[in-house]
Each structure stands twice: as C-alpha cells, then as structure tokens.
C-alpha cells in the first residue's frame, strides 16, 4: 500500500499541481529556475489584482518607535536604526501565508479543481482554508499534531482549530514524514489541487510583500529600506520577499533568521513536543536553505540561498522576551513566528546607523496555544526547564529555555552562509550520486547558491576531501 502510493508520486503530484516540470529541466541538477518562475505563475500586477479581490495584502507598515528608542539607549552614539514592522496579521486568516494561498487557490478554481489539499501544521492551513472558503472550494489540511501519547502541540492545535473554523477538514496525525504519503493518498482519492507550499504560485504570491515594503518605505521616506529581515523555515518567505524587493528596484539587504533548535530531531516522537516553536526554526531553515529540492514537488520554487545576504539565529527565550516587549511597549500582541525576525532586528539595529531603516517583514495573529504563556506552560509540563537568564549562553533546545531579563541580553548567533553553501554541494553530491558535475551543472549550482563557478569548484574539492578523511 505505502510503496504503491509512493511509486506513483510523480504521476499524482503532476496531476494535482498541473505543472509539467520536465519542461524546465536542463541537465542533471540544472534546471531553468527563472523560466519556471516566469511561465508557470502570474505576473506581479496580476497577483496584486488577485490578492486585492480577496483582501490579501496592502497591510500596514508600522514604525516601532518605543523599541527603536530602547535600542538606541543601549547602542553606541549615532547607532540604532529605525525599526519597522509589516503587520501581516492584517491578512484575512492572520498571516502572510494568505499571500501564498491566494494565488494557488485562484489557480485551482480557474482550472476546474473542486477542492484543495495542503500538508501543513502551520498558518498556511488556515490561509488555504480561508481562501478556499472565498472561492467556494473544499479544503483538506493534513497536520502533524500529536506525539505518540496523544499530546498535541498547543500552537498546532490552535492552527488546526482555525482551519476547521474556516470550514476545512483537518486530518491530525502523529509525528512522522509519512504525512506525505497520507497527503498523496488524499490527492489521489479526491483529485483535488495540491496547494503545495513550494510551487511557483506560492512563492510568487509572496513577492507582493517585498514589493509593498519597498514602495511603502520609498513613498514615505524617499528611499528604500537598508535591510529587511525575514523569518526563515522552508525558505519561501525569504525567496518571495527578496524577489519582490528586487522587482521594486530595491537593493535592500535580505537577512534570514531562525529560532535555534539545533540538536532536536524533526522526526523524533520524543523531541516533537519539546520545541516551543513549530516553524521559523533551524529544523527547517538549515536543511531547506541548503537543499531546497527535498519537498513534495520535483522542483522547489523556494530557493533562499539565491537571495540571502546573511543568516542569523536567535534563541527561544529571546523570542519570548521580544513577544512580551512588542505587546507591552508597542501595544501589538502578535504571534510567535514573525517575532523571530523582530528579535534579530533588535540586535542588528544596534550595528546600523541611526538614519538607516530595518524592516521586520511580518507578524501573525496570536492567542490561545500560540502565546508565550501557553507555550511556556506547556514546555514546563513536558519537563523543559524555564528560567530567567542569558539565552545565548544558557538555552539548550529541548531542555532549557532561558528568558532574558533585559533588552541588553538580546543577541544573535551568526550562521555563516558559507556553511550552508557547503552543505548544498554535499547534498548535491548525495542526491545525484556523483562527484563530477558538468559546466552547465556547475553554472546552475553557482546561481543556486549565489556564488561563482570557482567557488563551486573549491567547495566540491573541499567536500570530497572531507568525505575521504
């Protein structure tokens, strides 16, 4: 049964997304990413129109004046950039994921699909359910919700509740990557559209976010933002936002940030409920940036390494601190994932000049299950030690959450892009079962990692040497 379904994967997916990926293949690892992005989806103008018809996008850009003031108090003279926040919680289902869902569901409707399916434990489920409601399509969301003791992660339970409230059927599963098998079975059974997170539709839908940030800042301050900071999980958020900034003509630095959960295994039944963040963390961020083509569709449209200028990590304790700070000094109670990049922004703003602008590109709705109080109560119940302290030094994913007592303790962990690029090369060798790549392939690998051919050669050499040692 399992093997039969997995064997038919390509056939099922092709029918369910309606994209002939073979058209874009070049040779081996190489494929024509730019042509795929251009031909499969819709233009930026078309997407702006699609989104405006379902109340998606055009969210407020808010200056965080009190947080900026606090950061300047602890910065060197003339340092401390102005911090802005794009309030994506103003989207219909409460996060930027509506942008992603809007294009897929529009496309599904126009191509005669009766319903849509998405495999996601995140906000994307609610976004798909909400857009499906608007277009009169049926929706099924497949979630990884429980550990083997039937204990549900509160944040995921809340996201499931939201999906159901928007009228979707929710399948709640226990931990494991076979969620993919279950989803394939459903796609096959129903003939519904696969609202995959990783098709060109989903990524193009996020371009409007980057575009809006660039134009909002430009029209108010006569210049583009100096840096935009993006919470990174599967990498779609970074990819779409960066592409949108580019389309607006902005040469803004794109910084990715994830919560540090290194050491926890993403497919472990035990570790599952010892994470206080269910997305925007290193468990997705590091593997997906290093090797994007590990997803349901043959070619992932989310390729963050092409766009990242920098990648930083923050701790769980720091994000809880920042979430409290945002509520209490800015009067904005917003959800967990976006506050990952806000945490990093507090730290990075200190390095930047006073007249510079850094934009945190999202917020999400919050409430039961999602709030720091809900997550920390749950963490304590699961045996995680929660205390006050210096997070960067004392946080141990799955074991200790140290919550800073003051804003001076907020810092970042630099994660060198070189490490990710090297993993990309390593994974490519593994996936294609060879150590020699043609010039065409190497050219593609260089583009895919934002490096040049010589750097690829050098990394290939290093990885092969490491492998032999």
């Amino acid at each position: 049964m399992y093997e039969d379904v997995i064997k038919r994967k390509n056939e099922i997916i092709q029918k369910a997304v309606g994209i002939d990926y073979s058209k874009f293949e070049i040779k081996g690892i190489a494929f024509d990413y730019d042509r795929m992005m251009k031909e499969v989806s819709y233009s930026l103008d078309e997407i702006r129109k699609i989104q405006s018809e379902t109340q998606v996008g055009n969210t407020p850009l808010v200056e965080l004046k009190n947080l900026t003031k606090l950061i300047r108090k602890i910065s060197k003279p003339e340092k401390g950039a102005r911090i802005f926040l794009k309030d994506e919680s103003a989207n219909p289902s409460g996060s930027f994921k509506d942008r992603r869902a809007s294009v897929s569901i529009y496309h599904a409707k126009n191509h005669g699909y009766k319903g849509v399916i998405a495999a996601t434990s995140g906000n994307y489920g609610a976004a798909v359910a909400s857009q499906a409601a608007k277009y009169g399509l049926r929706a099924i969301i497949v979630q990884e919700t429980f550990d083997s003791n039937h204990v549900g992660q509160p944040e995921i339970l809340e996201k499931g509740r939201a999906c159901e409230a928007y009228g979707a059927e929710v399948v709640q599963l226990t931990v494991g990557p076979e969620l993919f098998y279950y989803t394939l079975k459903l796609l096959d059974e129903t003939g519904y559209f696969d609202a995959s997170l990783y098709t060109p539709f989903g990524i193009a839908g996020i371009e409007t976010l980057g575009y809006e940030i660039a134009t909002q800042v430009k029209s108010r301050y006569g210049r583009f933002p100096d840096a935009v900071i993006v919470t990174h999980a599967g990498g779609g958020n970074v990819t779409g936002t960066a592409r949108g900034l580019k389309k607006a003509g902005a040469k803004t630095k794109v910084i990715g940030s994830s919560v540090d959960l290194r050491g926890l295994h993403m497919a472990s039944d035990h570790d599952f409920n010892r994470k206080s963040f269910t997305t925007g963390h290193t468990g997705f961020g590091i593997p997906f940036s290093a090797y994007p083509d590990r997803v349901d569709v043959p070619r992932n449209a989310a390729r963050s390494l092409r766009y990242l200028d920098r990648y930083v990590l923050v701790t769980q304790g720091e994000v809880f601190f920042t979430t409290e700070a945002l509520a209490q000094v800015e009067g904005m109670m917003r959800g967990p994932a976006g506050n990952t990049s806000l945490t990093a922004a507090l730290s990075i703003a200190k390095e930047m000049d006073e007249d510079q602008i850094i934009v945190v590109q999202e917020t999400e709705y919050t409430g039961a299950g999602k709030l720091p109080s809900a997550q920390l109560t749950f963490a304590k119940k699961m045996g995680v030690i929660v205390k006050n302290g210096n997070s960067i030094k004392e946080d141990v994913p799955g074991k200790v959450i140290a919550i800073p007592e003051s804003i001076e303790q907020i810092g970042i962990i630099e994660y060198p892009l070189e490490n990710i690029k090297k993993s990309y090369v390593k994974e490519s060798i593994k996936a294609y079962g060879k150590s020699e790549f043609s010039d065409v392939e190497k050219k593609f690998m260089a583009e895919d990692t934002n490096s040049n051919s010589q750097e690829i050669d050098k990394m290939l050499e290093e990885v092969l040497k490491d492998g032999k040692a």
Binding site: Y2, N66, L70, K73, R138, A139, I140, T145, F146, S148, G152, P154, L157, E158, G160, R161, E164, G167, A168, E169, V170, V171, Q172, L173, T174, V175, G176, P177, E178, Y181, Y182, E189, T190, A267, S268, D269, H270, F321, E324, A325, A327, Q328, V329, G367, A368, G369, L371, P372, S373, A374, Q375, L376, T377, V386, K387, N388, I403, E405, S406, I407
Partner: protein, 99 residues
C-alpha cells in the same frame, strides 16, 4: 452512545510500526502513525466502535469512534513568572532619561 448527525472524532492507525519508513529515529519507528478526523456521524454508534463519518470536505471516512463533540483544549496557559517583569522593566527603561 452517539447519534447519527453528531459531531464526532474518529481514530485510525495509518501505519503499524513495522510498516513505517526505515529512516525514522528509533523512538518514532516503534510507534504507529495514527490519524484523527472530525465529522458528522453517519449512523448511531458507541465509543470504540467502527463508524462512518462525513467530513467537512464531504468525504466519507470510517474509523473508531473516539470522541463525541470533540473540544479544543489548548488555552492561554498559566501566568509565567519568568515573563511578568519584562513589560514593567522596559517601561521603566523608556521613562528613565526621557527628555
């Protein structure tokens, strides 16, 4: 006893431990992959019995009746002492030295 038309939750074992993918960590590999789905009960049934439901997407699915009127139990949690001083301290810092 649940009646036809009641809003219920059903349970299924999707994969026994022996059928799970080989690459899983040991702790996950030794437990089954399970699924729960909500829907409207198609015929009267008892908890623990095999029943059939119609889901919100209109699918008909069978499984073991697990719960009637399934409730979401996630909440806001307890007050967390480690968080409570963050706001007041920041407010004090903002007031200090303001011109």
């Amino acid at each position: 006893m649940a009646e036809k038309g009641d809003w219920v939750k059903i349970h299924n074992v999707v994969l026994d431990p022996s059928n799970r993918v080989s690459s899983l960590p040991a702790d996950t590999k030794k437990v089954p992959l399970e699924a729960w789905i909500n829907g409207f009960l198609n015929e009267d049934g008892e908890i623990g019995e095999m029943v059939e439901i119609t889901t919100l997407s209109g699918r008909i699915v069978s499984g073991t009746l697990a719960e009637v009127n399934p409730r979401y139990i996630h909440d806001f949690g307890n007050p967390v002492p480690e968080l409570l001083k963050i706001g007041p301290n920041l407010k004090k810092q903002l007031e200090e030295g303001s011109v």
